[in-house]
Subunit: 340 residues, 2 copies
DNA sequence: GGAGGGATTGTTAGCGTTCACAGACAAGTT
DNA sequence: AACTTGTCTGTGAACGCTAACAATCCCTCC
């Protein structure tokens, strides 16, 4: 009758009582403190198992100062890049024993990031990863509520914070050079939205690679990542006999381009060669299979986390410059030699 | 000299002191308790602003029993469906003032879900959303650590838990009927992986719609959601003159099918009509644009959350049966009348 | 003209951990 | 034999908040 039926989860003191020790000893065992007698440790561990005890993360966070939760600020997670990055970070975090709290923003403006960060800070996250692919990220991140360790993904020249990113310049160069090597006299470019850093980097690298090769630089075509914008670009490009090679800022745009060319009986790669960017899972099965630049988002996630954990251990002010993640050219059937 | 430079964030007692009230009054103001004099409330609010005070969610959770964080268990996937659902849930949660903690699983087995739920429980989440599209979900969810309110997405007949899902049967019926209405004598089906509930539902509905219409039921072709599997299916179907209409279990598979047909000079919709499922953003720009079934994942997220919040307020044992979310047929260019 | 009652505020306990410090005990020193 | 050392364990106080109760105050009413 002393145990009516209290399915209340066991707490530390319960374990302590069962093991015949003080709650502090239980805490020590749980946190791997060295000076606990082996026999005592066993006893505690047994009690833990017996009561199916799980430490309360809230109390833990409150009492100590560290929590085992990381915050992630992300965007429009339907896009392949951000989604893949998020997944990569989550995996790496789990492997390191951390949980993940996410906040997705509609837009990356100053207030938005500020609010997101506050919300995360309220939850006392140990640190945050900000997936900030926008050009105004730098400005938005300038005045972070300090004190909370943070790393950013793709925030280019933000400078204020340690950053991880895929080497967009190298990727774009790979794409353009591949096309030039195939004998195309120049390469057209359907760029991404101008408020995305990746888009800017890819465009810049496209331009400079062309210039370095002494090739003429055709006018750039606007795009916004969507297949629709690629389609529209394709419609404009389809009639132009000068166009023999196109570098699309991402794979979705390339899909749209393909669609437009198909509609207009422009043959790929017979008449025009196309290179995309991202290597989304679908790229291999477009018509024709798309030559593209692969980004390793898992690696990005891993490095992010490694860097953040470093920061947690040693809250230095120096912002270590991580080497950029190298992209790779994946050659498929959408590119071929230039027609003479 | 009494203020060296302690940028330690303000806590409730600081606010109380500045406003000249007790910490409890501050708490009351923050929680919208009615009986606080307007003048006092103003004073407290001013102090809050002045100190840039933000309540500590950890302490809040520990003291009261409710936390403002919801857990989401999802899967190791950048698949469109789960990603879109996650985003939908996150949005709805934010709108309701809740934060989101996620755990992604590689597989939905019993231990995996158990671990994920424990991890979430440790963080004292108020409730969880389980995105459980697998057939073995029911089994895995049978023995949840009880006490924590949960709703599942797409867990079919699990029964134990309140569930939200898109009406797969209606969707598949829409697809098949559309094809039959166009005059096709029957419809082939490239199904999804057998351990996914959606895949099963779609297949079943495909079969029964055919039967109900008195159409012969061709052998089903296996797929696994990937474009590659669709491609392989396409290769098998391409030579067969009896095939004039195909219903793919998702849009990626349809893409692969399109690719294979293209390769084999099977014209779509001239020779064969194709319907997909999901309406991913790319569907509109495939070659040809894909007729497909749209699922409203935002709505799923919203309903999920509404149901979960209901559950939090009134922890009833009854599991309310929510109406399934209705899918819609989106007609594009991949379907056309049967050749006579 | 003091009792009854609602509105407003303060006081005291926790919530479940970790931290800082202090005991207790055995072993090694002088 | 008294002292130092180190290992192991326990005690009490935070951490920042909410819950429950008690204390005031100001009206209204008979």
């Amino acid at each position: 009758m002393d145990q009516p039926s209290p399915p209340r989860p066991a707490v530390m003191i319960d374990v302590a009582r069962l093991a015949g020790v003080s709650h502090q000893t239980v805490s020590r065992v749980l946190n791997g403190h060295p000076s606990v007698r082996t026999e005592t440790r066993e006893r505690v561990l047994t009690a833990v198992r017996q009561l199916n005890y799980r430490p309360n993360a809230l109390a833990r966070g409150l009492a100590g100062r560290r929590s085992r939760v990381l915050g992630v600020v992300s965007f429009d997670t339907i896009l392949y890049g951000p989604a893949a990055t998020l997944l990569g970070v989550e995996r790496a975090a789990r492997a390191a024993g951390y949980g993940i709290s996410i906040v997705t923003l509609e837009q990356l403006d100053h207030d938005g990031v500020g609010d997101a960060l506050s919300a995360l800070a309220e939850q006392s996250v140990a640190g945050v990863v900000i997936i900030a692919p926008f050009t105004n990220a730098a400005a938005a991140l300038r005045s972070l509520p300090d004190g909370i360790p943070a790393v950013v993904v793709e925030a280019g020249m933000s400078g204020a914070l340690p950053a991880i990113s895929v080497d967009q310049v190298a990727g774009a160069k790979l794409a353009v050079q591949h096309l030039l090597d195939l004998g195309h006299s120049t390469v057209w470019h359907v760029r991404g939205p101008q408020n995305w850093l990746e888009a800017r980097d890819r465009e810049t690298a496209w331009r400079s690679t062309l210039e370095k090769a002494g090739a003429p630089v055709p006018p750039v075509i606007d795009g916004d990542w969507s297949a629709r914008s690629g389609y529209q670009a394709g419609l404009r490009l389809a009639g132009d006999p000068r166009v023999s090679a196109v570098f699309c800022a991402n794979d979705q745009q390339a899909l749209g381009l393909l669609r437009a060319f198909h509609e207009r009986d422009v043959r790929v790669p017979g008449d025009v060669s196309i290179v995309g960017f991202d290597d989304i899972p679908e790229a291999e099965f477009m018509s024709p299979p798309l030559t593209t630049i692969r980004q390793d988002f898992d690696e990005v996630g891993r490095r992010c986390l490694a860097m953040l954990l470093d920061l947690l251990d040693a809250p230095t002010d120096a912002t270590p410059a991580a080497p950029r993640v190298a992209p790779a050219l994946v050659t498929r059937a959408s590119t071929g030699p230039a027609q003479r």
